[in-house]
């Protein structure tokens, strides 16, 4: 329990720093708070917090697909954690977007001035609706007990419509995850050829589904460790296998894409981008696959290595597509400023704290991990 207290204290400190920096961002504007520039116009908030954050939240719709639509009831214990991760992932994603755009009070403009040709329009609309759906999916959980118990009838009603809600949610997810990748399709000359692809939409959704399931595995292992619970390793192993299936699928698409555009020579030409790409691919695909085909997959340490590696690999991939791949043509580099870093980390810390609050007070895992009285 001591570990949990220390972790929570650290998260609270980061969240407070983030909040202070947030006030600075609104008082002095984007220029003062961030290191983004005319050459690298998208920075950490948009690419890491928003794009990668949404990508790691895919476990919600993948698990819902497996359990609710395909009726693999074996995975049911993972449904609530996955839904919670999706809710928090998308919540922090939307919150980061609100900080990142220059005129946040106009956030509703995509709905009143829609440009249906724009990928970002599609992303904003689908993410808004999907976030609403994850929130609806949370209602039955949070009305079971506690202060919201008086609304439990609403929770029961929603439960009757869970299948259509889930199907709409999966459709919206498949739309905005492909569009998140397609955001970079109009930049063939500016984005480095290693990361540019006319298939970026498929590359993004497949890799996000893989890494999203690994996020679920990582969160379940971490919760088990922090609350001294026993994790169902066989179930997590099965989830990790689903993830590895998607990661291999991603690797295959990427390999075909690199061959079709004849980019392999560039990767091994000694450009630093090639080295970065190899590291990214090792983390995103090679390490998880290696763990899952070795006996280490049966241990929680093995699953931890596989999941953390895949998460870091995915975050690296998104940063590379959205920021690093533009360095060479822009003739500029980017590293987040202190304030930018703290606000971004603060958003994540806030989401993590909310996660702990919900896990400790509601039935997310089969038996709610109630904290002992003394710590």
């Amino acid at each position: 329990m001591k570990r949990l207290m220390i972790l929570k204290s650290v998260l609270i400190v980061i969240a407070i720093f983030g909040l202070i920096a947030c006030i600075g961002r609104f008082a002095f504007g984007l220029g003062a708070a961030t290191a983004v520039s005319d050459q690298i116009p998208w920075g950490q908030w948009k690419v890491l917090n928003m794009i990668a954050g949404a990508a790691l939240g895919t476990c919600g719709f993948v698990t819902a697909l497996i359990v609710v639509v395909l009726r693999f009831e074996r995975f049911e214990p993972l449904l609530r954690p996955a839904t919670l991760i999706a809710f928090l992932g998308y919540g922090s994603s939307c919150f980061a977007l609100l900080l990142d755009i220059g005129l946040p009070w106009r956030i509703y403009h995509p709905f009143i001035y829609p440009n249906i040709h724009s990928f970002l329009f599609e992303v904003s609309v689908c993410v808004t609706f999907y976030f609403t759906i994850t929130a609806i999916e949370m209602i039955p959980i949070v009305t079971e007990r506690g202060i919201l118990h008086k609304f439990h009838n609403l929770g029961h009603k929603i439960h009757h419509f869970v299948v259509p809600i889930v199907i709409i949610g999966i459709t919206l997810s498949s739309m905005h995850h492909t569009s998140l990748g397609a955001l970079f399709v109009p930049s063939p000359e500016r984005l480095h050829p290693i990361w540019y692809s006319p298939w970026l939409n498929w590359i993004f959704i497949i890799s996000a589904m893989g890494a999203g399931m690994m996020t679920l595995v990582w969160v379940c292992l971490t919760v088990a460790g922090l609350y001294n619970r026993k994790a169902d390793l066989r179930l997590l192993q099965a989830a990790a296998f689903i993830s590895v299936f998607f990661l291999c699928f991603y690797a295959a698409i990427k390999a075909v894409d690199l061959s079709a555009r004849n980019v392999w020579p560039i990767i091994f030409s000694g450009q630093w981008e090639g080295v970065v790409f190899i590291i990214e691919s090792l983390l995103l695909v090679a390490v998880p696959v290696a763990v899952m085909i070795s006996p280490a997959r049966r241990t929680s340490a093995g699953l931890l290595v596989a999941s953390v590696s895949a998460i870091i690999g995915l975050v690296m991939n998104r940063l590379n597509v959205g920021i690093v791949g533009f360095f060479r043509t822009a003739g500029a580099t980017y590293f987040p400023s202190i304030g930018e870093l703290f606000i971004g980390l603060g958003v994540m810390a806030g989401a993590a704290l909310l996660f702990f609050v919900i896990v400790e007070n509601y039935e997310i895992y089969d038996k709610p991990p109630v904290l002992p009285k003394e710590v």
Partner: protein
């Protein structure tokens, strides 16, 4: 009125002849004066090419030539396709204009523009995107863009796109820029690139630095328009959505039917006993 497809008959264009520019920056000053774009103290967030939230045109040096940089006013602009709130418009007279009242500040135009032209008011508490608008309001009044009017050397001229293309072909053929003989690169920069632009260049040095597609850089068709790269991808989305929704609904229907059938069978079995 905004144009739909291709350069209309009324589409105007600017032709900049790099071989005639001496780099006096009178065009830059005229632009600043006309639109009162603000002071020229460079922001730390600005690029070294001179364009910024306070400057819509600038002179860059490419191989000891002076090249004027500005929005190229694409025939089918990427920014118009990319903007989620439709703040950019391609007008019938050729100008690509920006409606600040709609902008949410997502800066996707800055990512999507193949020439990296849109710039941002980084140091403003209420920031907007800034770029050349081909003096749209002046054109409506029957005037020329301020920069072309200010150029004392005729290095940047204005007319309909058809006229400008004819003039460019004439100069390329004569290998003469009207003042002296020059060895042009046999190409009108902006005639076809990314679907063509309304600001075209003649030059005796390569202008890839401006963002024109560089041969051998990516394996994609060079005449393609950035918007056209995304159109086929954008078309995939409704099909994907319909496929996902339809197949999931179908799977659910089948599973439900089978489960109901199994239940019925179980009931009959129970009754038999």
């Amino acid at each position: 009125m905004s144009a739909k497809h291709g350069p209309g008959a009324n589409a105007m264009a600017i032709l900049t002849d790099v071989t005639r520019c001496v780099g006096c920056e009178k065009c830059v000053m005229a632009c600043e004066r006309t639109w009162n774009t603000g002071d020229t103290i460079p922001s730390v967030h600005a690029a070294p090419d001179g364009l910024s939230g306070n400057r819509w045109t600038s002179i860059v040096k490419i191989k000891d030539r002076f090249v004027r940089k500005q929005c190229l006013h694409c025939v089918d602009p990427s920014c118009v396709a990319a903007c989620p709130v439709h703040a950019f418009y391609k007008m019938e007279n050729g100008a690509v204009i920006y409606k600040a009242g709609k902008c949410i500040g997502c800066r996707y135009c800055m990512i999507a523009c193949p020439y990296s032209i849109p710039r941002y008011d980084w140091d403003e508490p209420k920031p907007f995107v800034q770029k050349c608008k081909m003096c749209y309001e002046r054109l409506l009044e029957g005037q020329r863009p301020a920069c072309t009017q200010a150029c004392p050397y005729g290095a940047t001229i204005f007319g309909t796109r058809t006229e400008m293309i004819a003039e460019a072909h004439k100069r390329l053929k004569a290998r003469h820029n009207g003042v002296e003989a020059v060895s042009y690169i046999d190409k009108i920069w902006g005639l076809h690139e990314y679907g063509g632009t309304s600001v075209m260049y003649l030059s005796d040095v390569n202008l890839y630095e401006l963002g024109f597609p560089t041969p051998g850089k990516v394996s994609a068709p060079y005449d393609s328009i950035p918007g056209h790269y995304s159109h086929p991808v954008a078309l995939q989305t409704p099909f994907l959505a319909a496929t996902v929704f339809g197949s999931l609904a179908g799977i659910t229907w089948i599973i439900n039917r089978r489960m109901a059938a199994a239940e019925q069978k179980q009931k009959e079995k129970d009754q038999d006993y």
